[in-house]
């Protein structure tokens, strides 16, 4: 293995990632500990100060109010934020390879628009939260099938056609969302806006989302090197023995399902799906075998930090988490970009 025998070369100027240059164990350990620290902070921080020992006791199954707060409120919320961030970052990385467009994000093909239409219909009707979730997921799947059907129409299934179809469906959903916001009674607009900006506070059932994230990563990892080849263009990939058609369909369905799950869980949080894959790419290079799992962990970490900050910075007032992801993400991204002049 290259990993075992090869030594990192630090030559003049900028050294780009190449397979094996980053020690995978160190990398995984670093990202996993960052994720663990972010989750711990999410459990410790809040209106009611709860110490680390109490948090561990609560996770171990202790009784009392502090334990209830940790287990019933903070843990589901932290996990929801982490899972949503991981899902969005993974979906963004996959979309960028699928569309071979560095500006692609999980929402570009209208998945979140469909989910938003579904959720806002439920919120307009004042339906229970389970219905908001159900209609959001249904809306996301409808948008996914609609885009797939329209883009697939003549069997060509080209990248430009897919991108255009998705962008148009997203625009249509955006108009429907604006219409519903304009017509909705004032009392409901606040909850609608919070849903649109993303809100982890209501996420009481984060565990199915975690399962989707783990299964999604398990499904994509065997094909990660195929994604590297696909990123070099469809013709190159076909000539190198990649079944491009099947791979692109799989990517589309998987990225859409991950996005739909994330949006249903927390809402269409901006920025994570676009910025995290780029951030990871700037630091680790564009090898999808490293990029995809690293993006999942980094996305989860960022959203957990942002969500915890959103509910503690000016507590008891809550900030929309999407604002925080942008406030944290933009400077970090600009800093990394400035370090790597083209």
């Amino acid at each position: 293995m290259l990993v075992a025998t090869d030594r990192p070369r630090v030559g003049g100027g900028r050294v780009l990632m190449r397979p094996g240059r980053h020690h995978p164990t160190l990398l995984a350990a670093g990202l996993l500990s960052a994720a663990a620290l972010a989750l711990l902070w999410a459990l410790v921080a809040g209106d009611m100060p709860i110490g680390l020992s109490e948090v561990f006791a609560a996770l171990g199954g202790s009784e009392g109010m502090a334990a209830d707060i940790v287990r019933e409120l903070r843990l589901p919320r932290a996990v929801a934020a982490f899972v949503c961030g991981g899902l969005l970052a993974t979906a963004g990385a996959l979309m960028q390879v699928l569309l071979r467009n560095p500006l692609a994000d999980p929402y570009i093909l209208g998945i979140s628009g469909g989910a938003a239409v579904g959720a806002l219909v439920a919120l307009t009707l004042g339906a229970a939260s389970i219905w908001v979730d159900t209609l959001a997921f249904g809306g996301a799947l409808t948008a996914m099938l609609l885009v797939f059907g329209l883009a697939h129409g003549d069997g060509s299934w080209t990248q430009t056609r897919l991108l255009l179809t998705g962008v148009i469906v997203a625009a249509g959903c955006g108009a429907a969302v604006t219409l519903m916001l304009a017509l909705a009674p004032d009392t409901r607009v606040q909850s609608m806006l919070f849903w649109l900006m993303g809100d982890a506070s209501g996420a009481a059932r984060p565990w199915p989302g975690l399962a989707v994230l783990v299964l999604g990563l398990a499904a994509v990892m065997p094909f990660a090197r195929d994604l590297n080849v696909l990123a070099r263009g469809e013709l190159n990939a076909r000539a190198l023995g990649v079944s491009v058609r099947k791979l692109r369909m799989g990517l589309y369905v998987l990225a859409s399902l991950l996005t739909a799950t994330a949006v249903t869980l927390v809402g269409s949080v901006g920025f994570v799906g676009l910025i995290i894959p780029h951030l990871v790419r700037l630091v680790l290079g564009n090898d999808q075998r490293v990029l995809v799992p690293a993006a999942a962990l980094a996305g989860g970490t960022l959203l957990t930090l942002a969500d915890t900050a959103a509910r503690t910075v000016i507590a008891p007032q809550q900030l929309p988490v999407g604002v925080l992801t942008a406030l944290i993400g933009v400077p970090v991204f600009l800093f990394l970009l400035a370090r790597h002049p083209r």
Partner: protein, 269 residues
């Protein structure tokens, strides 16, 4: 599969092949056979269908009529990865959307040789570095492909194909963006590989290349396929196809055949 194949089998055969795009016939029925040790050049005016024909020969497109056989077997009998270990394509363009080092880009050529969970080994890296040396790009390993000049990027693409190490090279305008020195160096490189660097060793390689320069085709190809852009095809040995009248007709410009120091050249009038 390779155990049953011998070098006596042609690398590539086209049998009564014809190509149609929409209503238009790019080429009427013709046949060809490329044995190990041979180079074939595809010539023709813009839009005549050279690239379409090359992609069909690469098994990336179904022929409208007839059959293409790779190593004696139709493409349907090959898995995509097996085919990728036997034949490699140099596409006309290299779409780069993401930053990547030159070495990473060349290592992409090793894809068909690695298993589903395989990671590039030091051996693959040595192959990639040798391929870069073969195209004169030693020391470029850590450069970002997005910062390369057109000619350098083209040589990276050639190195990627060399790293793929197929028996049959299918080259779509391999001389794109190359200066004169590297045009000749590239054609020499492929000819040396195809003719066998060591005399006496069994010939394994062959090449099909789309070229624009008739004189380079005359110098480096054993066989020529000339498309005239109106559906006509002339396929055969170099000297039977490279005639001033046929070339003038195909390219729509009068050409004159000259002989100089044993070499044939064609000059536009």
């Amino acid at each position: 599969m390779s155990a049953t194949r011998t070098d006596a089998v042609p690398l590539l055969e086209a049998e009564r092949l014809a190509l149609q795009v929409g209503e238009r016939w790019l080429c009427c029925e013709f046949s060809l056979s490329l044995a190990p040790g041979e180079c074939l050049a595809l010539l023709g005016p813009n839009g005549a269908g050279k690239t379409t024909l090359l992609h069909t020969l690469a098994g990336l497109r179904e022929p409208s009529v007839g059959q293409v056989r790779l190593g004696g077997l139709p493409y349907a009998a090959w898995s995509p990865l097996e085919a990728a270990r036997f034949r490699g394509l140099l596409p006309q363009q290299q779409p780069d959307h993401f930053a990547a080092s030159v070495l990473e880009t060349v290592l992409i050529g090793r894809h068909p040789h690695l298993g589903r969970w395989g990671w590039e080994t030091t051996e693959d890296e040595a192959i990639a570095r040798q391929a870069l040396a073969d195209v004169g790009l030693q020391g470029f390993e850590t450069r970002d492909v997005l910062t390369l000049s057109g000619g350098e990027r083209q040589r990276v693409a050639i190195a990627t194909l060399l790293a793929q190490s197929p028996q049959l090279f299918l080259l779509d305008e391999p001389l794109n963006h190359l200066d004169l020195h590297y045009q000749i160096a590239t054609l020499e490189l492929f000819r040396t590989t195809v003719r066998g660097a060591n005399a006496g060793k069994a010939l394994r390689h062959g090449a099909v290349m789309v070229l624009h320069d008739i004189n380079l085709a005359a110098r480096y190809a054993d066989h020529i396929i000339l498309l005239d852009g109106r559906g006509g095809v002339k396929a055969g040995d170099r000297d039977t196809v490279l005639r001033a009248d046929l070339l003038s007709q195909a390219f729509g410009h009068p050409l004159r055949r000259l002989e100089s120091e044993g070499r044939v050249v064609f000059l536009p009038d």
